[in-house]
């Protein structure tokens, strides 16, 4: 079906977008220059010297978490799938209370710069730090790959800039922020970006609600959506078909947040546990508000602009927010929001790079290779080399996976975080009998099971590795459904019915042929969380029970005092 090219300037060079983006780059590089002068020690590099307030860290946490993928992706999901998009946005938020109730304060009180510090607090440093660093790096690399590929694609869609140039630009800027400004610059980049993103999304929602047809009524907005796309658009659809799979996804989202290294690392930037918990309160508020805005934007886009226009530009609906911005505020608002989305990508990859670099330098180099005996200068040198190395790796991964469907990698990052990082972290805080062997087994079990099951799941085994035959199978299935629908029509003539039935037989045969061409995935679920996380806990507990570790049990006592009242933790991020 030929479609008319939509009237849009999306994908062309937009002078306002470039101007806004340049302003952001100049401002953030200015901050980096200022931060560089204050970033001399390891504590300043990894944790901004512990001098960030709870409110600032709340904004920065929100900045780390609100990626361009969630801004554009959730608006897109809502505008193409309606209510199912809303289900996703709820899932992305519910991990935060868990972070607060179980993790934030002990993490702040027991660790120094990374969550491995906490797991290794009373266990043997070398094996734990090796395992935890690998868990961190795997999480960070999957997340980073998804962000980089998304960055190249989005920037190409929004600015018309070639994919490769976009990657070099993102890579170069993020290395500059982290290398020279460390955590202080990264935090302020996050704060600026969070304010811009929240402000931009708020503006877009105000303009949407102010539209004459909506007139500040959500009732009218939903009424219009229902009139245009049927009442099923406001009901749960096919997203959750298998309850166990849905439960499994829920587990990964909920506990994955509490195992993301770049999020956990932020708790060392505040002076104490009190500020750490405050920052989660602010972050949860900002993120929840942001998702409500994003859902409104999705409905606004589909009602005011239309599904066809949105899907013409990008089949996944990723440009829904941008299309709406152009519709309501012209190229001025579009340019501003495009620049904000670009800034968002930059800030998130900078945070990830810093987390990866600290796993390499603080955990692996200092903790394992130098047995904790490296001096400040040496650690900084390694941290900076690791930053450059990771930045280059990120660009290379982006180039390697160009044009691939990498959306599953975000799910994988969450699954690994929930299965490899979270169980070991939680058990080390709450369970006296937890041992080194138990922790190492738990981390590797969670990681290996999560990665293997995702590779064997329909998402990767069929959709990614056999993408061409799978697409044909989906098309053949859709054809059958279409014919069956036509057959059910009440006013069908006998002749038409006969010809449709003949078509149906052919179409069904086609499905059988196409099905034979696709090797079915050995693991039927899309989300492995329930197995990978369950096994990680189980193995961690079983192996710990097999052989006691006296020193770890003895130290649990002093750990307890520190966990609950913070004695001995005050100076942990100041030297």
């Amino acid at each position: 079906m030929p479609t008319q090219a939509p009237q849009t300037v999306i994908g062309t060079l937009n002078p306002i977008a470039i101007l806004c983006f340049l302003l952001f780059v100049v401002a953030t590089l200015g901050i980096t220059y200022w931060a560089a002068k204050k970033t001399k020690t390891a504590s300043q590099f990894y944790a901004a010297g512990g001098g960030i307030t709870g409110f600032q860290n709340g904004l920065a946490l929100a900045g780390d978490y609100m990626s361009a993928a969630s801004f554009l992706g959730i608006a897109g999901l809502v505008s193409t799938k309606g209510y199912d998009g809303l289900i996703y946005s709820v899932g992305w938020l519910v991990g935060w209370p868990i972070v607060m109730f179980l993790i934030s304060e002990p993490l702040r009180n027991l660790g120094k710069f990374t969550f491995s510090d906490v797991v290794a607090f009373r266990l043997k440093q070398k094996p734990i730090k090796t395992a935890a660093a690998i868990g961190s790096l795997v999480t960070v690399l999957f997340y980073l790959t998804a962000q980089m590929v998304g960055a190249g694609t989005l920037i190409k869609l929004m600015f018309g800039l070639p994919y490769e140039s976009a990657l070099f630009l993102v890579g170069g800027l993020m290395i500059a922020y982290v290398l020279f400004g460390g955590m202080l610059a990264t935090t302020w980049v996050q704060i600026i970006k969070a304010v811009l993103l929240l402000g931009g999304a708020t503006l877009l929602v105000i303009l949407t609600l102010n539209h004459a047809d909506i007139d500040w009524s959500y009732g009218k907005l939903f009424q219009m959506a229902s009139d245009k796309y049927g009442s099923s658009f406001l009901e749960p659809g096919g997203l959750v078909s298998d309850p166990l799979d849905a439960f499994s996804l829920g587990l990964a989202l909920m506990f994955g947040t509490a195992g993301l290294p770049h999020i956990l690392m932020r708790f060392y930037t505040v002076p104490d546990a009190r500020e750490a918990r405050k920052s989660v309160f602010y972050a949860t508020g900002f993120i929840g508000y942001f998702y409500i805005l994003t859902v409104t934007i999705g409905f606004g886009a589909v009602v005011l602009v239309g599904k066809n226009v949105i899907m013409d530009i990008d089949k996944g609906g990723n440009m829904a927010a941008m299309v709406l911005a152009e519709n309501l505020g012209g190229s001025l608002l579009l340019g501003f929001l495009a620049a904000v989305a670009f800034a968002t990508i930059l800030a998130v990859v900078a945070g990830l790079t810093l987390a990866g670099a600290s796993a390499l330098s603080h955990d692996l180099y200092v903790g394992v290779f130098r047995s904790g005996r490296a001096n400040e200068k040496e650690e900084m040198k390694v941290a900076k080399a690791a930053t450059i190395g990771l930045g280059i790796t990120a660009v290379l991964l982006g180039l390697l996976f160009k044009g691939q469907n990498v959306a599953f990698m975000v799910g994988l990052a969450f699954a690994v975080a929930a299965s490899a990082n979270f169980p070991a972290l939680l058990l080390s805080i709450v369970w006296k009998r937890f041992t080194t062997a138990g922790a190492v087994t738990s981390i590797f079990t969670g990681m290996i099971v999560a990665v293997t099951l995702i590779m064997l799941s329909p998402t990767v085994y069929e959709d990614v590795m056999q993408s061409a035959p799978k697409k044909e199978l989906v098309a053949a299935n859709e054809k059958v459904t279409g014919i069956e629908k036509a057959l059910k029509a009440a006013d069908i003539t006998p002749e038409l019915k006969a010809s449709k039935e003949a078509e149906l037989t052919i179409a069904k045969a086609e499905v059988v042929t196409k099905k034979a061409a696709v090797k079915p995935a050995p693991f039927k679920m899309k989300n492995p969380g329930v197995f990978s996380m369950g096994l990680a806990f189980l193995m961690g507990i079983l192996v710990s029970l097999m052989k006691r570790e006296k020193t770890a049990e003895d130290m649990f006592e002093s750990e307890k005092v520190r966990t609950y009242i913070g004695i001995g933790a005050e100076g942990s991020s100041k030297h």
């Binding site: 868990i98 009732g219 009442s231 749960p236 309850p243 929840g288 609950y564 004695i567």
Partner: protein, 103 residues
Amino acid sequence: MNDKTPHAILEDPEFKELARQKNKVSLILTITELVLYFGFIGLIAYNKPFLARKIAEGSATTIGIPIAVGVIILSWILTGIYIFWANSVYDEKVKRIKKRFGG
């Protein structure tokens, strides 16, 4: 404070009570959040028609919409409850214990 302090604190009844209370509050709030979210997922999995009901006669808005937004807002309120308790009760007790042990 010296090396013996942690042990003295551990044996302290007020500290024991503090740790117990903290665990209880964390556990109750965690379970509430789990019930809230997995209750929502359960409704989607097992009772779609309920979520598809309209909030009022003649309205297009389904019950599912305020419920989903409600889960987001309640999650945030739970973090608020924790903060309120921690700032007003927990921190005060920590301060008292630290003072007694000269921390």
